[in-house]
């Protein structure tokens, strides 16, 4: 147990641990909607588009998360607006916004003296998170989870039957805008842990693994959150002991969980095929 507790004497480890839990839970719970609504591509795109916001805030000496929130929400609304008008297909709209914003971020970076400071934005550094940052991450996580809870029934209905929602006067477009904004806030919260490039893995991989293991939405969210939190902690310790990039370690831990979940599902299906009774969980 010593090796588990010993690093916690350092405040940066405690801050990192708290951040890993907050980010893990938020990404994983929202990620269930992202996976069930086939929004994986848009999640990845939103993550990339906050880069110019981050860089601009850095160059202007402003709060990084603030810059990212502005860029993320602006992109979420922009994508919603572009695809709603139907002038271009949605995935095309996303592709244009995503690469354009990312290029703008890189361009802004190249105006600075050194690229070095920006590697944290691209790839994350959970051990470098400050106390101020963790408070901001906590606020973002709280807002996202409370809004998800309050509007769960509308999110759920528009996910599986948008036509019925519309017939009852509940606009799927409105719900979608809201979800995109939540997604951008979540991405911002997670950037310091895993970086712009890998954040979509935290959104997608734990939720996808959970979707292989259960057919109940609340259980899916719980399993997804557990996977993300455990992966976050694994990445944190890997970073401390092995001196490897924390973001990459967290994502690879998630990927491992997904592989394990796939194996469990394959085994279950095999035993279900052999046994006459289906598994309790699969009924």
């Amino acid at each position: 147990m010593g090796w588990l507790l010993e690093p916690l004497q350092f405040s940066f480890m405690r801050t990192g641990l708290l951040a890993a839990v907050l980010v893990g839970v938020t990404c994983a719970v929202l990620g269930v909607y992202v996976v069930l609504r086939s929004m994986a591509f848009i999640g990845d795109a939103l993550a990339h588009t906050v880069l110019p916001g981050l860089v601009a805030a850095y160059l202007l000496g402003l709060n990084l998360l603030g810059g990212a929130v502005v860029a993320g929400v602006a992109t979420a609304l922009g994508i919603g607006w572009l695809s709603r008008r139907g002038t271009v297909r949605e995935d095309t709209a996303i592709g244009i916004a995503f690469t354009g914003m990312f290029a703008l971020g890189v361009l802004l970076m190249s105006t600075a003296d050194s690229f070095r400071d920006f590697s944290h934005m691209l790839f994350g550094n959970i051990l470098g998170i400050t106390r101020v940052d963790v408070v901001l991450i906590g606020v973002l996580a709280f807002v996202v989870l409370v809004v998800l809870f309050m509007f769960h029934k509308e999110l759920e209905l528009t996910s599986f039957d948008p036509a019925h929602a519309k017939a009852m006067g509940l606009s799927p477009d409105t719900v979608r805008y809201g979800l995109l904004i939540l997604l951008s806030l979540t991405v911002v919260a997670g950037i310091q842990a895993v970086g712009v490039v890998l954040i979509s893995a935290l959104l997608i991989t734990p939720a996808a693994a959970a979707s292989l293991l259960t057919r109940s939405l609340p259980r899916m969210m719980a399993i997804s959150a557990a996977i993300a939190v455990v992966s976050g902690i694994v990445g944190l310790y890997a970073s401390y002991y092995l001196d490897v990039a924390s973001g990459a370690a967290i994502v690879l831990a998630c990927t491992t969980c997904f592989i394990v979940a796939s194996a469990i599902r394959a085994l279950r299906q095999n035993s279900a095929a052999n046994a006459p009774e289906p598994l309790a969980d699969e009924r």
Partner: protein, 254 residues
């Protein structure tokens, strides 16, 4: 031609006007977005409260389009539609619409009870959660449609007929006064057909107004009070020998 505003959860809803028909459509033209030809041409319909009316015609005749217009999902290009004497959308929670099967993501991780319960949202609106009263209505309706044993099953595990019953259950828990049902008996098994027919006659006895699209000409006289025959988006006279019943078309609507 803007789509009518539909309030979610009784927002801005008004009371029915006494003495007005449940549904009145006058010379309605409608077209789908991005198409130039009309899907409905000069269609009129007058359905007094408590009547059961069949919309009869082959595929593409305009039955579904007319139901979508009444449900507020498709704007009209010209003409007028009144529901209980009000504009479309004004007492929206009194209208329950059952579309044709197929727009539901059946793989989504929810059970039958939850699917049916979403019908109650039309009375709940934002931020209000289903109460015990809502759960009781849902449980009763599930039982009526013979789905009690399947209530905790994930929706993808149902057969086609069971799915149709679940969707009808969701329409019923809305407790609408005007029900718009699009081919509720299309391609279902015999057991489902019997259960649904029974439920429909119960609704008729309960004084609900039913407008049902069908292409099945048998049993019209037994199950309906009147019929509107459609072809290529227009009202046509019934062929000799076909069921007529109460006149509901152009002659009484204008």
């Amino acid at each position: 031609m803007r789509a009518p505003h539909l309030g979610y959860g009784r927002r801005g809803s008004v009371k029915p006007r006494p003495g007005e028909p449940a549904l009145l459509a006058r010379s309605v033209d409608a077209r789908y977005e991005g198409t130039s030809s009309l899907a409905l041409r000069d269609v009129s319909l007058n359905v007094p409260a408590g009547l059961r009316v069949a919309l009869v015609g082959p595929n593409g005749s305009g039955k579904s389009t007319l139901l979508k217009v009444v449900a507020g999902l498709l704007p009209i290009a010209s003409g007028e539609v009144r529901i209980f004497g009000n504009a479309v959308g004004a007492c929206h929670h009194r209208v329950a619409y059952l579309p044709q099967r197929g727009e539901v993501d059946w793989r989504f991780p929810i059970d039958v009870r939850k699917l049916v319960a979403t019908g109650r949202y039309t009375h709940l609106g934002w931020l209000r959660r289903p109460r015990r009263e809502d759960s009781e209505i849902v449980a009763e309706t599930i039982q009526k449609l013979g789905l009690s044993d399947l209530a905790e099953n994930q929706i993808g595990e149902l057969s086609g007929g069971q799915q149709q019953r679940a969707l009808l259950a969701r329409t019923l828990v809305q407790q609408g006064d005007l029900l718009l049902l699009d081919e509720p008996l299309n391609a279902v098994d015999a057991a489902t057909r019997d259960i649904i027919s029974e439920v429909l006659s119960d609704l008729g006895r309960a004084g609900k107004t039913l407008v049902i699209a069908t292409h099945d000409l048998t049993n019209l006289a037994a199950e309906f009070d009147g019929a509107l025959y459609l072809e290529n988006g227009r009202e046509i006279p019934p062929e000799p020998g076909n069921f007529v019943g109460v006149t509901v078309g152009r002659e009484v609507a204008n």
